[in-house]
Subunit: 167 residues, 2 copies
Amino acid sequence: MVRTADAEDGLITPVCSIFRRFLKRQNLRFTTERALILEAVMSKADVFEADDLYAEMRGAVPESRGAGEKPTTVSRATIYRTLKHLLEAGIIREVLIDSGKAHYAQSFGGRPTGHLVCVETERIVAFPTERLDALMREICAEHGFEPVSHRLVVYGVSPEASAADQG
Amino acid sequence: MVRTADAEDGLITPVCSIFRRFLKRQNLRFTTERALILEAVMSKADVFEADDLYAEMRGAVPESRGAGEKPTTVSRATIYRTLKHLLEAGIIREVLIDSGKAHYAQSFGGRPTGHLVCVETERIVAFPTERLDALMREICAEHGFEPVSHRLVVYGVSPEASAADQG
DNA sequence: CTTGCTGCAAAAGTTTTGCACACGT
DNA sequence: ACGTGTGCAAAACTTTTGCAGCAAG
């Protein structure tokens, strides 16, 4: 949709500066590993988990690294540590798909998002949840709470799965 | 609270028969341990986790067990195994509060329920979500999904916490 | 240079599983 | 009796942490 940006990196460059600013503000450093993780995160269209990033980075040298000689192997520890920062920076958010494992997704400009999960294929589709705002406020008001945020996961059967069930 | 056995148990007895029927249907057995776990589950007003049940059953002999000589110590393994059956039987449901640990709540007659979580005190309030049904269907329709269920967690600041912040 | 960062490996926390024995039905 | 269930302890998994060396600013 949006063209321009700084270069053809599209999404990556702006988010990258956001992260850099965030890190600087906290006296943290923008390291090679953090850059790689951010890149891997931005390459994920949908929901991902820590181990997806780990797998993605094993061996595969991302093109944007130009003359990539860096080993491109980031330890799990660093991934977990960086995910925390990305959460704090508001670049990603946690999506509660199931307990036992953390799931994350890019937070598109902080727009509230829900996720539609196919119970058969496990395909996940994100959708905006602004239309729930009034209801959220209503629910909070009924209990005297002040709304902060919400997480919505809708389970259903995707069209592909329905089709497969038929044939 | 709880009186004797079959009669005035209020909540427990009906759920108990539901569970027994469920087990029988699957050729599974209604054991002392499963009865104890069900009792512990029904005693929880709100959201609980596996370890809550374990803690609750250590030593405390539930009154309803009459002449309780049974050790009333149920292993964690059995708790986890039984929770699976209770889920399948529809007696409890998983509540996605955070990843890394499973949270459960009684499912009141299968009525869809959301949870309001105070981000400061961690108090959790359940609320019915029927009023979201139309919206859920709408969202599913937009993506060609067939709705199955949903999970909603709303985060907010409880009245107590707000009050504490003031004073 | 100073301070924070990384990788490794060990630890921690939750949930699962193999096995020998015990118990509902 | 038969087939399940249970407890124990070990295993499996995800995530966290201590530490020695490394690197960003």
